[in-house]
Symmetry: C5
Subunit: 352 residues, 5 copies
């Protein structure tokens, strides 16, 4: 079973706002990439101190500070202080058990969403936090640097729309990239379900059952991620935050529609898997029925015949039948008749 609930109790008793990293502590160190861009230029560099990030706080170019790895808590705290982030924000970024949400802190928007991945039949979810300021974006992720690579590629294209737009469009692009991963996961699940559906009709086994179970548990987890994601997007659409330009809303509506589509598909798959489980269960019952019929047919035919044989195996002195010359073949005959009558009975009951 995928881990549903990462330990948070180590924190209990500490004052709220204490920054402690709660997660699977991937061994990589924290890396900070700074990307600055406008229509004319694009500067990408990796920095090692927080001060280097701050150089680009002026508003004409967009600055994207991309932070991968949340182990170096001090570094992240310094980022928080430099950008005047509320202590609860830094705490939430580090606590990767967070539920997806969006919060308006006036100067900046704080967005947390869950990215998903499907590895070895398990759904893994990791947390992406986004700070959207007036001209900058800071993104925090635990690992998996590659998920924003397609965005970098598009940014390198000088005439791409990304370069012409500002950081609110970039925030949309990040959310869209995360949502795309849900589609990838859904497709993999969809393939699995189709395979299982065929297996179920042709030859359901105990393994089929466990696969259905595992898919159901995975869908429960997926659902737990996509519902709050949809809420976040819906709130962006409705709240008309000043930091997000109105012409971006049409794009937000687009991912809103897609997140609803994922949600509905999750529900549809759950319904389908429930249906498949019912079918599995009745297949098991049906097969048991088959087994019982075979036993009953055999026992019903042979036990009476065995009794006949047993009777003429008795050692009574006076058993006149034993002396009759044709008695033996007659017994054979009567056994045959009894057997055929019983077979006929089962035919009529449609068991054979």
């Amino acid at each position: 079973m995928p881990r549903l609930f990462r330990k948070k109790s180590s924190k209990s008793g500490l004052p709220p706002g204490t920054p402690i990293y709660i997660g699977d502590r991937h061994p990589k160190k924290t890396r900070i990439m700074v990307i600055k861009y406008d229509e004319d230029q694009l500067i990408e560099k990796e920095v090692s101190t927080v001060e280097e990030c701050l150089q680009g706080k002026e508003s004409s170019v967009v600055t994207w500070i991309k932070i991968v790895g949340l182990q170096q808590v001090n570094l992240l705290e310094k980022v928080g202080e430099s950008f005047n982030l509320h202590p609860l924000v830094i705490e939430d970024i580090l606590n990767t058990t967070q539920r997806s949400k969006i919060e308006d802190y006036g100067d900046y928007l704080f967005i947390v969403v869950k990215n998903v991945d499907y590895k070895e039949d398990e759904i893994e979810s990791n947390q992406i936090s986004i700070i959207l300021g007036p001209s900058f974006i800071i993104s925090f992720q635990e690992y998996q640097e590659a998920i924003f690579e397609p965005i970098m590629d598009r940014m390198r294209n000088k005439r791409g729309i990304l370069r012409r737009m500002r950081n609110d469009y970039l925030a949309y692009a990040l959310l869209d990239a995360v949502l795309d991963n849900y589609f990838v996961v859904m497709e993999k699940l969809s393939d699995k379900i189709e395979v299982l559906e065929d297996e179920l009709i042709i030859d359901p086994t105990q393994k089929t059952l466990h696969e259905i179970h595992r898919l159901k548990q995975n869908l429960i987890i997926l659902r737990k991620s996509i519902w709050p994601f949809r809420e976040v997007v819906s709130r962006i659409e409705r709240s008309r935050y000043s930091l997000i330009d109105e012409k971006i809303l049409i794009y937000i509506r687009d991912i809103y529609d897609h997140s609803i589509q994922v949600m509905e598909t999750v529900e549809t798959y759950r319904d389908m898997l429930s249906g498949m489980l019912d079918i599995y269960l009745s297949s098991v019952s049906n097969r048991m029925n088959e087994v019982m019929k075979v036993l009953t047919i055999i026992a019903t035919i042979f036990i009476p015949l065995t009794l006949i044989a047993g009777i003429y195996g008795m050692n009574f002195r006076f058993m006149p039948e034993l002396e009759i010359p044709f008695a033996y073949p007659l017994v054979w005959l009567s056994m045959l008749v009894v057997g055929l009558v019983l077979v006929g009975f089962f035919r009529r009951k449609r068991w054979i």
Copy 2:
């Protein structure tokens, strides 16, 4: 299982708004029909370039551009540019995995709905997109040219209401034609369910089970199509778009009522099929009970008799009964008595 989820991952990483056709790529080429009409005239022609479509952009006659087949992406992009459509609209038209929706782009309304078809016990759904402008309508569909044929027939009738009304009524007529197909599908399902209900009472088989399962899965898919359809219609009714005249709303309310009716019937059928599944399962249990009773009756009657026969088949030297002349018929008699007592026992238990 019907394909729930068409591959969309081939797109992941591409910038939003990139027009790529996602669908079952039917081999036909894209055809463009242009229909112009008002009360006095009706012109139908097939065109091969986008420019020919544009000739009729003046507002006194209604222009319906009917596009069938979405393979020629360039052509569709050109249509989009000519009519000033947002890139996301063209992307959504091509991505036939879209959820039904309506979007107001100011100059035009963009409507996506799912048309359904029931072939070989599977529900197929394909996407119809409609652009409703000030005096024109553009409809996009993947295949199945025939679904709008009845509308064409009515349009050819000079005194029909269609000719007297403008393009908002035509939009209504298109939606109504799509909804009619849901009714056709529901009727076919209804027939199936009635047949199954009878089968269930008289002689349920494994096939009955699989049919119930298949119908349930089909209803899940149908439900996934009709819910957003209803939302689209409801939004038209409530939003009072400037492009749709108020006197059309009474017609919209009519299809709204019908879409609710389809929805409710889908839910009713699901409830009924669930009930039928329960009955199937208890029929299986009941039949197993029958089988077990036969086995138990036979075994309970004959096993003790076999023991009696076995006892008098033993070879002990000193078995006084063996010498008694009437012992053999007495054994027969006692067997009969034991057998009858057991039969009586089963009678009292109401097993026979």
Copy 3:
């Protein structure tokens, strides 16, 4: 199974508003009764032409035009034209698969509700349509003239409240009469459920199962009728239509309360029947358990004894026991002991 879905596909392709009767085409011809009343007078007559209906369109007396049988489409169309009804209204009156609804057309209210009847263990529902104008009511029904007979009786009582009130009160009385039939059906179902509940505890059979199933399916259908009925009544209460006087609303609230009561009772019965199905299923399991225990007890006691008998039936030359004089009674004794030990074992397991 009751027919859920009457054929509507015959209509598909026809323009909306085309009046076609969709129903079970009862062979009676359409009858038109005209009732005119105020506090002083009451005139009842059957008319054969639409023109005769129109004579009483003045406002001082209330005119109730009661139309039974929807086969003569032309006649109904003429009624529609005479009273200036929208073509969609006439279409909806004829299409008896309609969902219950109320629509305000300014000059008149159009109300559709479903009347129910319980015959031969099936719920039949038929459609009642009501046009409420300024001083007239037109009611349309498929058959079953008798359902409004009690209203006629009360109307003939000169001092009854009906004669003192206007046509909005009459509309209420018609709805109340329809709702009364729901109560009658609920009572019949309630009786059935009580009988089944007893059967279930005492001696559940396959028939009990099918009865539960049938009741569940009937409740699904009943629920599909009462929900929209409640919506209609609720909308009357909330919308404060100008055609319905405010002092009528207290009566409307009364039928609203009753329709909620029917709805809740339907849900309660469904829950109860689900509970009964669970009990049925576990009764079947329990009985199978009983059967298996009998088999197991018999087999476990007699099979070992049969082995003992078999052993001493072997023909080995050197079997010293066979020569011992008391061996035979000893074998009997040992069989008795084995049997009793096994019986004791089953006692301890609480199987006997």
Copy 4:
């Protein structure tokens, strides 16, 4: 099963507002108690005519007219006329199948709630109707005079809060007394559930199943009573009726909280009973499994041994083994070996 649905059909056809008593017609006659109180005095007397009630209609003292028994319809009608009650109110008071509700008639509030009682494992519900006027309260109940006795006791206490407050506080006290009975019933059910839970783990029987079933049905009925009760209280809190002083609302909020608590507990118990039913069902399956294992073990061990014995019981002339002196003990040995091997097999399968 408790009676869900008292006959109302006897009324169908009568005009609304016709006062007919629908209930279990307890044989007692209708009694009328009049209680008048303010801080200084308390007068209790039983009256026999309606006129005597009316003497205290002045506003300085509070008058509580407590009517027990609804058989004397004429008397109640007279009460209705004297206090100017709407005919529908009197009808609703007499029709004890009413759903709980509150209605504002301007001069007075009309409240109907259901009182519950738990007798012989069945929930009985009876109807309490309350008319709250400017300075009086009329309460109607079918029987069970005792339920308001605690209120009378408190009223006799001169310094109690009841004496200092007016009739709106009395209305609250009546509702609170009714709600207290729900708590009493819930406790009894809670005790039952705890007993059943233990039974279920230790030794579930058919009786356990029927008890679970009965509790579930009782909870369904309880739920049907408490939901509308909660609605009534919630409406009092929200509607700010002029007849109920604002300082009473804090008390109303208190019973609102308690009614929610009852509702939630009902739902919790239903969930728990569903869980218990699942456990019961799997216990039955598990026990069947045990039974089958015993049968299979016995049959699998003894049937092959019986075959061996049977083989050496054959009467072929040339069976060399029969002549070997140690053959007989060898057969015993081989039987032992076969038996032990099979026992070992079942051990490994963990069946023994």
Copy 5:
């Protein structure tokens, strides 16, 4: 089963507002701690009379009166009087069966929440009541003094945020401490579920079933506690009480998010446990299938062979086969063939 419903009926009949302690009457006596703090000072002392509490009612320092143990009803009543609390408030504090809630009494807020604990596989819930006045907080708890110890530790830290903030922040800190216990319980449940999930796949036993059942019942209880907790927090966030400063709301929103997370996790766990129950049930069925197959295979192979042996054990005088020298080995051979044919049959049926 955890006690769901503590006796409240002992109270029925008493006037509302009567202070009676309803709970498990832990034997400790009531202890009162008074903590006064501002940025400069922190005074902790235990007092024995209510008068000592009152000394610090001035507004410059924050006073936290922490009351543990609710047995001394008189003492608590005196507290109530001293702080002018409404009698219903004191009654609710003592009635520990209360549902979580928040009530605004103008001068003070009254908050009731449930604290949870997981001991010996049972969830225990106890009640925490909080009175938030202008410059003081009174907290009431039944036992378990330790739950607020972490807050005391943080308060002793002079530079902690707690010392800089006022009593509304303290109220938040108390609620946060309670919510932390939910997380602790969830983690323990999560560990249990993971263990069970493994057990389920590898070797499910009756014990597994009872564990799943117990977890489900515990989740039902947990859910009953967290839902109203969430409502309380949500109401604080939305109602903007004057006693809670706006800058505290960001912290309230934080615990709101966390309470939603707990709720969703509870629902997720319930879904998972339902899935696990299904798997358990089909495992039982599958195992029964296995058992039946073994029985059927053994019986089907050996019963016919036993018949053959029985036939040649018959004592007919004229059985020509008996005289044939190779008959005996031929019978062995034929038995082998029959056995192998049947084994082959079961192979093909995939039972072996």
